[in-house]
Subunit: 330 residues, 2 copies
């Protein structure tokens, strides 16, 4: 167990109000740890952080190529999107392209993550459906894979369905693990999620960004998804979202992906490194600040200064009432 | 520093996903500690947990009586409400009663806390305004006090305004502290909030529930507010909210109030005790479970079994995917 600590604090009136403990690790594609904070061997549910890895069967099968999927579609296959009109438009068109309906998405329905999108949708008299689920892009990827492989998509969220088996095999190859040997839970969108060592997730992100330690076709698959994410960052998340802001600010140097319960993963290809981190209490605000801290630690320079602004929290009278920032890294 | 620990865990597939550390203290009206977990002397911003105390000038001044405020109005003076139609109706009527408009509320605007209320409001073509702010009931209390005292309400959110001075004096009397000697921050609704010892907050809740250690008129003021909260718990919070559920489940034995950043306060008059607690990472889900744990620790019996159900978390396909519960109390 490593003794380095990464602590993020929220202050109000300059006084500490809340504190978050974060575990984090930076790894290369061979699994060599560059730096770690806390126990990087801890088992963590990657949740949606795994999405770029879960999209690999879509690429490796040839489905993406045969369906001529756009960069926006590929970005959405890796996304936890806001349910804004641009997102629902891509998902709806994609389902149409597959000759499928929103009822074949098995992710469930929820109102858009982004409140202005919920308001706009309600104002236009539309009810939320599975298209607006933040995971609907990933699920379109699953349906595309099944469609291309001639597999009946029905029940594709089940851990024994061929779609999830292909997903687990791909994640396992990227992480040098047999995923299904690990504790299984069910994710928000109803597919399985496995508790996996944080350090293997960081290694997988290093491989994802660099293609190192991977066969040629895997290299190509990872490269295509990476390029889609950094070229179309709005389609990975959306307005006011950290993934989108980071990828915009670093101008292609970093691809990153958030996951529920305070997880974040990132690939920094020009350094040959990957990052994985988790706020132990599951709070995403701490994970976001921790990602900024780690990119700064690696001296990766953003092309836009978005982070000082990001650390200031405002109330509904637009007063700057509190801040969130690194309190301790040692 | 007390060595007892209170830890709340979130599990997924039976495996721990996230953990929350909570500090908590149970006190009587004299400030004698019954039990504590962690450092109960720690300074904590009570945030909205202070609302029942902040409503005292409304009672003590005679404003509530002269204005013949209903129990629903008094409950709302202590509320962080959902912005449901019942809530906005009480607030709008109250402003009308005062001959004032929503523009005199200085809390700022936000869409209702309760998503179905945001959807319903949007569908009916109405924009959110200060009436829907979760603090608008408290602010109506402030305006009523100013109106009754013949004070110009303009700028009533400022820490030097007579309204806030009266509020701070009342809180100070309940907590045996000079509030303004403590670190000041600005709350979500723009009034000042002070970082105060958690144990004094617990004592204030014991006094609030019992009237002990207070002059006659203060006893009466506390009793009226307590009765309003437990008689009209929907108006303290709303649908699916923990404050409302707890007060309904304990049938008048407990009045409780949540605050932002993981704070909770509760009064249990028949035991002569008050509770104050804070999830150190600021997460309200942990504070809610911790409140249940402490009420159970005190062997207070709910009239309805709501808590087992409350600990099960479901995804948008209504699958029971994770749980939140006590992991460690020692």
């Amino acid at each position: 167990m490593n003794k380095r600590e990464l602590v993020i604090e929220v202050t109000r009136g300059g006084f500490v109000e809340s504190r978050h403990q974060v575990i984090a690790v930076i790894s290369d594609a061979k699994g060599k740890r560059h730096t770690q904070w806390g126990d990087a061997d801890q088992l963590v549910f990657p949740r949606s952080t795994a999405k770029p890895l879960q999209a690999l069967p879509l690429m490796l099968s040839g489905a993406a190529q045969d369906l001529k999927l756009s960069q926006q579609q590929l970005a959405m296959a890796c996304s936890s999107h806001n349910g804004e009109v641009q997102h629902s438009h891509v998902v709806s068109s994609w389902l149409e392209q597959l000759g499928m309906s929103s009822e074949q998405l098995e992710c469930g329905s929820h109102w858009p993550l982004y409140q202005p999108a919920t308001v706009a949708l309600s104002q236009s008299g539309v009810q939320a459906c599975s298209v607006h689920n933040n995971c609907s892009g990933k699920h379109c990827g699953f349906l595309s894979f099944a469609h291309h492989q001639g597999i009946d998509p029905k029940g594709y969220i089940d851990h024994q369905h061929p779609v999830q088996q292909a997903v687990n095999d791909a994640m396992g190859r990227m992480m040098d693990l047999k995923i299904t040997d690990h504790p299984m839970g069910i994710d928000g969108c109803s597919i399985p999620t496995y508790a996996l060592p944080l350090t293997n997730l960081a290694m997988a992100f290093a491989r994802f960004g660099t293609g190192e330690q991977l066969p040629d076709d895997w290299q190509k698959a990872c490269h295509s998804l990476y390029q889609a994410m950094v070229t179309e960052p709005f389609y990975v998340a959306g307005s006011e979202r950290h993934c989108t802001k980071v990828m915009q600010a670093y101008g292609g140097q970093v691809a990153c992906k958030t996951g529920a319960e305070g997880v974040f993963g990132a690939a920094i290809p020009h350094l040959g490194l990957g990052i994985a981190l988790k706020a132990l209490d599951g709070n995403s605000r701490a994970a976001e600040v921790a990602l900024n801290v780690l990119l700064d630690h690696l001296k990766v320079q953003p092309t836009e200064a978005v982070f000082e602004q990001h650390s200031k929290l405002h109330n509904c009278n637009k007063m700057h009432v509190s801040s969130i920032q690194l309190a301790l890294v040692k």
